[in-house]
């Protein structure tokens, strides 16, 4: 099987996964107790108004029919009206998702780059002071829950040592750049507004670092141990014996096979960044989709809940496809299905 067949197979599978997810989300959202009409219109609404709301939103139809209405809308980008914000859910998602995505993407980038760099450095200087420090600190990083790390960082940079802004997406008084992608850093760069870019970037750093720390430590350890394990393998000794220089051995023949375990693990951690973002968003006052979703859940805002979960599900599936492709590229044994 070549790589394109592999990608096609994965894409088809993920469509099936998403369809299943949409059914589950829909059913769960409908069977939780509470009357969505009452929640939307408030306790003072008249019985006729409630009836009208139920009829308009197809709440009196059988569940499969309701699902058909809903999924038909979703496929056209219409998640229905949010009963909380009184706006289309799609519009809310477009507004709040970029803030979370921007933070999660930077966190993912930091996770990938630093875990490989730190792991490789520790493996190369095995048993040195640096290696020892990496091993001990990474354990602490894995053991500490994200919200503790976030709170400590908030305390450090928000009060004790305010060298870097930690609250919100921009300093108070600054106007966000006109939305093109919704990412403040990218939008401000497009407008060539460098001071604004720098401000937005600094605001991103600490939340992103808090978000990725656990995964980063875990993957750094995996890269380190895989590199140490592979460095004694015959295939490296053989290549060394043919006079292939050390930098090629380390940067190519040792690195690639050593990334496989870490990349599989990274896939799960990167996908989980979105859901872990919730606490980070609360702590750093980040106006993101996770906070929006949590508000929707507390208010039983059914359309918003379904929309947010479906978006999260789609992102999770996409990240997983990407990871599968990367792993298949790294390890031919996977896409070739073994000997």
């Amino acid at each position: 099987m070549n790589l394109s067949d592999f990608i096609l197979k994965r894409a088809v599978m993920s469509v099936i996964v998403l369809a299943g997810l949409s059914v589950v989300i829909f059913v769960v959202a409908r069977i939780v107790p509470g009357d969505p009409a009452r929640l939307a219109l408030g306790s003072t609404a008249s019985e006729t108004a409630l009836e009208t709301f139920r009829t308009e939103n197809h709440l009196l139809e059988p569940l499969p029919v309701q699902y058909a209405y809903w999924i038909g809308g979703v496929l056209q980008g219409n998640f229905g009206l949010s009963t909380g914000t009184k706006r289309p859910v799609a519009k809310d998602i477009l507004e709040f998702l970029p803030a979370t995505l921007e933070m999660a993407l930077l966190a993912a980038l930091m996770l990938i780059v630093f875990s490989i760099a730190i792991g490789a450095l520790a493996a190369r200087r095995r048993n040195s002071f640096i290696d020892g420090a990496v091993r001990v600190l990474s354990y602490i990083g894995i053991a500490l829950p994200g919200f503790v790390v976030a709170t400590l960082l908030l305390l450090l940079f928000g009060s004790l040592w305010p060298v870097i802004p930690v609250l919100g997406r921009l300093s108070p008084g600054l106007t966000p750049p006109q939305a093109i992608t919704g990412f403040y850093t990218i939008d401000s760069l497009i407008r060539l507004n460098l001071p604004l870019f720098w401000n937005a970037f600094l605001h991103l750093l600490v939340p992103a670092a808090a978000l990725c720390l656990g995964g980063l430590c875990q993957e750094a350890r995996l890269v380190r141990s895989a590199m140490i394990e592979n460095s004694g393998r015959d295939f490296l000794t053989a290549m060394r014996g043919y006079g292939v220089p050390e930098r090629v051995l380390a940067g190519k023949y040792l690195l690639k096979p050593s990334l496989i375990p870490a990349v599989s693990c990274m896939g799960m951690d990167v996908a989980a960044l979105m859901s872990n973002a919730f606490l980070i968003e609360v702590i750093f006052d980040w106006p993101g989709i996770s906070r929006y979703g949590m508000t929707a859940m507390l208010a039983k805002d059914l359309n918003a809940i379904s929309g947010v979960i479906l978006i999260f599900g789609a992102i999770f599936v996409i990240v997983n496809i990407i990871v599968d492709i990367v792993v298949a590229w790294l390890d031919p044994r996977i896409r070739l299905g073994g000997a």
Partner: protein, 334 residues
């Protein structure tokens, strides 16, 4: 080949200890080995006797810091390899000596295509330095064809796990001989394969070496293979060469008790069953016997054998390290 030819590779009294926590596993205990240009030399001994350690030390492939060499010299064309820096060693590795590793499946990187790995071997060899990508590719494809694999273009894009064991072995041989080298070290090639493939591999290896005028160090635990393929046989036991002579001579007049035991252990077509062989096993390298390392297993061992290590004595070309062999090659009673 005669003794007077200047040696290409000359190992003299090589001792090598592996670091095992605070202890030392004294694996090599004075190895003497000589290879003349174009000569085919066999290194025979049981598993764990230090054959692979010996040849890996020649290419500097043992883990630095994991072992120490308290005594001995490895001369390549008169130059002591042990004193070379990693960079100088690279020059020996990329132009003078090539090694075929024991396990072809482990010696090929599973996540790169065969072609890509071979291309890099050519690229970083002394010969391939001036070559462009196209020339390198020609060399690689030619080398795959030379080891009798049809359709080299297809194999070029294969990953190692898509090849059979025999094909992997052929690729490993191709890798070692595709650019110019003067000495080929083959560490038990074909051992993991069935006998018919194994003999094909051996025949091919002989042809390759003959065509290129390379010298060969052939490691094997099979006396039969050594007899077929080599000019000189060195019998190794527990980190020392115990007997060394022209192949036919070793078979006609084995002098060392260990060699004699090995010969007896070979089953013969004429029948009569397998003889007693050699009782016991290799010594503990952490605390090796102080005298002759074979003494604990030797039927003829005396007090002197247990206390003193016999040197490799030259009996007109047939060299043996045993107190019980007289200057005329006869067995002595002590």
């Amino acid at each position: 080949m005669t003794e007077s030819t200047p040696a290409l590779l000359q190992i003299e009294g090589l001792k090598l200890w592996y670091k095992v926590y605070k202890n030392r596993a004294k694996v090599l205990d004075g190895v003497d080995l000589s290879v003349a240009p174009g000569q085919k030399v066999g290194l025979v001994g049981e598993a764990g006797c230090g054959k692979t350690t010996t040849v890996k030390s020649v290419l500097g492939l043992l883990p630095r810091g994991g072992c120490e060499i308290p005594a001995g010299r490895i001369l390549y064309e008169g130059e002591d390899i042990l004193g070379l820096t990693e960079k100088e060693l690279t020059r020996i590795r990329n132009s003078q000596i090539a090694m075929i590793h024991q396990e072809p499946a482990a010696a090929l990187n599973p996540v790169f295509t065969v072609g890509e790995q071979m291309m890099d071997v050519v690229r970083y060899s002394a010969q391939g330095r001036g070559y462009g990508k196209k020339e390198r590719r020609e060399i690689v494809l030619g080398a795959i064809r030379d080891v009798l694999i049809p359709d080299p273009e297809r194999i070029f894009h294969f990953y190692p796990n898509q090849l059979s064991g025999g094909m992997k072995q052929r690729i490993c041989i191709a890798m070692a001989v595709m650019t110019e080298r003067r000495l080929l070290i083959a560490d038990e090639p074909g051992t993991a394969l069935d006998v018919t493939i194994q003999s094909q591999i051996h025949a091919m290896l002989e042809e390759m070496v003959a065509q290129r005028g390379m010298a060969l160090v052939m490691i094997t635990h099979s006396l039969g293979v050594a007899r077929e393929m080599t000019d000189v046989i060195n019998i190794m036991y527990a980190g020392t060469i115990v007997e060394s002579a022209v192949s036919a001579e070793v078979f006609a007049h084995p002098l060392h008790p260990y060699t004699q035991g090995l010969m007896e252990a070979v089953p013969r077509l004429r029948g009569g069953g397998i003889q007693a062989g050699i009782y016991g096993s290799l010594p503990d390298y952490l605390a090796p016997p102080p005298g002759c390392r074979f003494a604990p297993r030797c039927p003829r061992a005396g007090d002197r054998c247990r206390a003193e290590k016999p040197a490799l004595a030259d009996l007109s070309g047939h060299r043996v390290a045993c107190f019980h062999v007289g200057t005329d090659g006869s067995a002595k009673c002590q």
